[in-house]
Symmetry: C2
């Protein structure tokens, strides 16, 4: 009898660490999570040639795998978010960084924001003309300044002090974005519109395509980031939702991380990202139910369009959009990249 | 018996409209509501002379009565909010409009936002140097543009097109704000601080004092607005919470209207105004409980300070702050103005 008890205790001794490990990997506890988007509402099936679609899928896969690799190496969710967004900013395919669209007066105006769920720290930049990777400047604002949001010349002055890479304005010139501007200028001239009349963008498909990412690291820390080149033909230093903490980006370790893309004005008016976090916090529903409530009910009812990608604190994925498509990719439970458009 | 029934029915006939009227005035139904603030965390009892305090009280009473009169005349909550905020913007007492504080390089940089609870429309402006009344420009952005937020030169270009009054930069020069800047420059020089080291503003009392208003009109429409001159000695085009929809300002006819004031970075990270609306929406608690939860628990725990004024859809008042004081005034149930500081 004594011997049986001894074996039993020995068994417990060896099994308990394994049980702890199993628990660590269960859905109730943090696991690595990574999801990105490359814009919503930009894709019409008839305009997207098989070749173009293949390019998008390849770049999305590259970005999602790069971010995931960062997490696997033990680095933070902030590192993963920054890494993946920089890859998309450096590609001419997306409306962020290199591929930014043109404003009405032929400039490129870039915005970005980043937030960490631990401590609710955040950084945001808007109205940039010369910063190659706005997401990295947003992170510097968060980590090396007492502020959350910086705009315009002041933000670029801070960028220089922080040794963030600046590029000549021509860096952002791409033929397809320039052609898109010329097309809209022609259309607007034909209509001879006044300011008060262009409330409904006529060529919405040309006007957005923000990028973003949400990550959950091995410490259970969430992070989210978003970067954009704004809307083609935008005027008056317009700022969309991407640099607005609570609208385009939000992260809270107690709830979820969210990055949004779409018709920015609606995302600001609804505080889309913050509302998703609030629904998870106060109603205790799943992340998928929370994103669907905000996108398919509230945004839809108000007349806006776009979508979000999200991760809850356990790494569960939430994806919702009411536009024709949303470029997105995530890492599934087996560690495999899944790339989707429609 | 027949006669008794007839008298009873007659009684019902006469009483029922009165009952209806009583119900209309009960807390369950919209009544006129108006509340303003002139900044939190700015007041130390030892610094506020009786004469200065009398000036603040007089101006707060003037602003709250002017806004309330607008509501009584049958105009909208937006009109009331704009009217009261313009009065405070035109006074050198508050850190908004005329009384705006100076940035580190001796400029005045103004921000404002406004939102209506009906339809969730919003307008916001940031980084202005020459607009006399930023709250009126924010309203024009909401009503006459397709955008929610405009910044810097672009916003001022829009102001010119909308015939919004522009003033020379000298208009914003006031001796007490200039002296406050010189004092901080001297302190900072003595400390020889680096960017990364000034996360905790040392002279917080000098650094904020935003104004704001929330109104409920006879149609049951809520509106909220906020206007600020930022923080003394701010750098790098820093933007605080005042122009951020969801942080400094939010209004939703289904829940409440909120205007905030305080250490802006914390208000952005918590999406203070939006969170109060979410708590009312999802938890169904009173407006006072909602504002206390966000200010006295969440903001306090994160280490920030400031306060909010709010009205729910029935006109009930919510006031909360964790700073030493908050300049504020509201109209009580008898239509009388109440002015408070501590």
């Amino acid at each position: 009898m004594k011997r049986q008890i001894a074996i039993f205790l020995l068994l417990i001794f060896f099994i308990s660490p394994l049980a702890g490990f199993a628990q660590m990997r269960s859905p109730q506890n943090p696991r690595l999570g990574f999801i990105i988007h490359g814009g919503a509402g930009v894709i019409s099936r008839k305009d997207l040639t098989p070749q173009k679609e293949a390019e998008f899928r390849k770049k999305l896969e590259e970005a999602v795998l790069a971010g995931y690799k960062v997490l696997q190496s033990g680095k933070t969710s902030l590192d993963a978010v920054e890494t993946a967004i920089r890859i998309m900013e450096d590609s001419p395919l997306f409306n962020a960084g290199k591929g930014a669209v043109f404003t009405a007066d032929g400039k490129n105006e870039l915005d970005a924001s980043i937030m960490e769920g631990k401590g609710l720290n955040a950084g945001s930049v808007a109205g940039l003309h010369r910063v190659k990777n706005p997401i990295s400047l947003a992170r510097k604002v968060m980590e090396n300044s007492p502020h959350v949001m910086m705009i315009g010349d002041g933000a670029e002055k801070f960028a220089r002090e922080q040794k963030i890479e600046l590029v000549p304005a021509q860096y952002f010139w791409t033929k397809h974005r320039w052609d898109a501007l010329q097309k809209i200028i022609k259309e607007e001239k034909a209509k001879n519109k006044k300011v008060s009349e262009f409330r409904n963008p006529s060529s919405q498909n040309e006007r957005y395509g923000t990028v973003g990412a949400v990550a959950l690291d091995k410490n259970g820390d969430l992070a989210a980031g978003t970067s954009t080149g704004g809307m083609t033909y935008k005027k008056y230093g317009r700022v969309g939702d991407a640099p607005i903490i609570g609208a385009g980006t939000y992260a809270n370790n107690q709830t979820c991380g969210v990055s949004a893309t779409g018709w920015g004005e609606y995302f600001i008016r609804l505080s889309i990202a913050r509302d998703i976090s609030a629904i998870v916090e106060y109603k205790g529903v799943s992340i998928q139910e929370a994103v669907d409530t905000v996108i398919k009910q509230k945004l839809q009812n108000l007349g806006g369009d776009g979508g979000v990608v999200a991760l809850d604190k356990n790494g569960n994925i939430g994806i919702s959009f009411n536009s024709e498509g949303m470029y997105r990719a995530y890492i599934d439970e087996n560690g495999k990249p899944i790339v989707q458009i429609y």
